[in-house]
């Protein structure tokens, strides 16, 4: 399991290798599926085009909340390993912002684990986005559709 909060960009290949080696260290030969997801900064929002986003977080709690979430995903979907990276600070359009990876015996658990991590991350990890264009910036409002996605996992159990 790994959970990183960092300002610098990340390398998907390195993260994939780390996830795979952790999974095989735990259960040799039992990982039949790895699903990864990467989120990018879009160059357009409700108010028009933007230059990028500035991400604020709660140092200490962010890392703990993300680790707790990954542990839950591993337990719930019987993953052989899982990991996530979320960037903070200033991130420009089209750059990578978040990555999650789940390894499991079969594909459905790996897909479900990755969806669960993203849906729950959007509701329980203390990160806040502010979109900026030039010197102007606007906080992103939490979306009802994100709440609904997280609630689905909470009620499905």
């Amino acid at each position: 399991m790994f959970a990183y909060i960092q300002e610098q960009d990340f390398d998907q290949g390195e993260l994939y290798a780390q996830l795979q080696s952790q999974a095989s260290a735990k259960t040799i030969g039992n990982t039949g599926a790895i699903v990864t997801f990467t989120g990018l900064v879009r160059d357009f929002n409700n108010a028009g085009d933007i230059d990028g986003i500035e991400l604020e977080h709660y140092p200490g709690m962010t890392e703990k909340a993300l680790s707790t979430l990954i542990d839950k995903a591993i337990e719930r979907f019987s993953l052989t390993s899982a990991g996530a990276v979320h960037r903070v600070g200033r991130i420009y359009n089209n750059e990578q912002i978040v990555w999650v990876g789940c390894a499991a015996a079969h594909r459905q658990a790996a897909f479900d684990g990755a969806c669960f991590l993203m849906d729950m991350l959007k509701q329980s990890v203390p990160l806040w986005k502010k979109e900026f264009k030039g010197d102007n910036s606007t906080w992103v409002e939490a979306k009802g559709s994100d709440d609904a996605a997280a609630l689905k996992w909470m009620s499905e159990r």
Binding site: G39, L55, E56, H57, Y58, G60, M61, K64, A65, H86, V98, M118, L121, K122, Q123, S124, V125, P126, L127, W128, K129, K130, W139, V140, E141, A142, K143, D146
Partner: protein, 86 residues
């Protein structure tokens, strides 16, 4: 009872106070809760009153909690808007 208060994002900007140490005052037969802290902060000034309006999440010692959560001396209490990561 002394505790540390932290704020983030809009709540930090509106309160104009990223961190604050406050003495939570309650009757001797009452346990101090997050609700007491909110009531006390609202009385501090208009910025705090505005910052704590609407849907605000709370955390005690870096774990999400609600307004009935009981506090101990030295606790870290945080107020912030719904999160928007991912």
């Amino acid at each position: 009872m002394q505790i540390t208060v932290k704020t983030f994002a809009q709540t930090r900007e509106i309160s104009k106070t990223p961190t604050l140490s406050i003495d939570v005052v309650v009757d001797s037969d009452t346990e101090a809760t997050i609700a007491h802290v909110i009531a006390q902060l609202r009385e501090l000034d208009r910025n705090w009153a505005l910052a704590l309006e609407g849907s605000i999440l709370t955390a005690k010692n870096q774990q999400l909690c609600d307004s009935s959560t009981v506090l101990s001396p030295g606790d870290e209490v945080a107020f912030f808007p719904p999160v928007t990561g991912g």
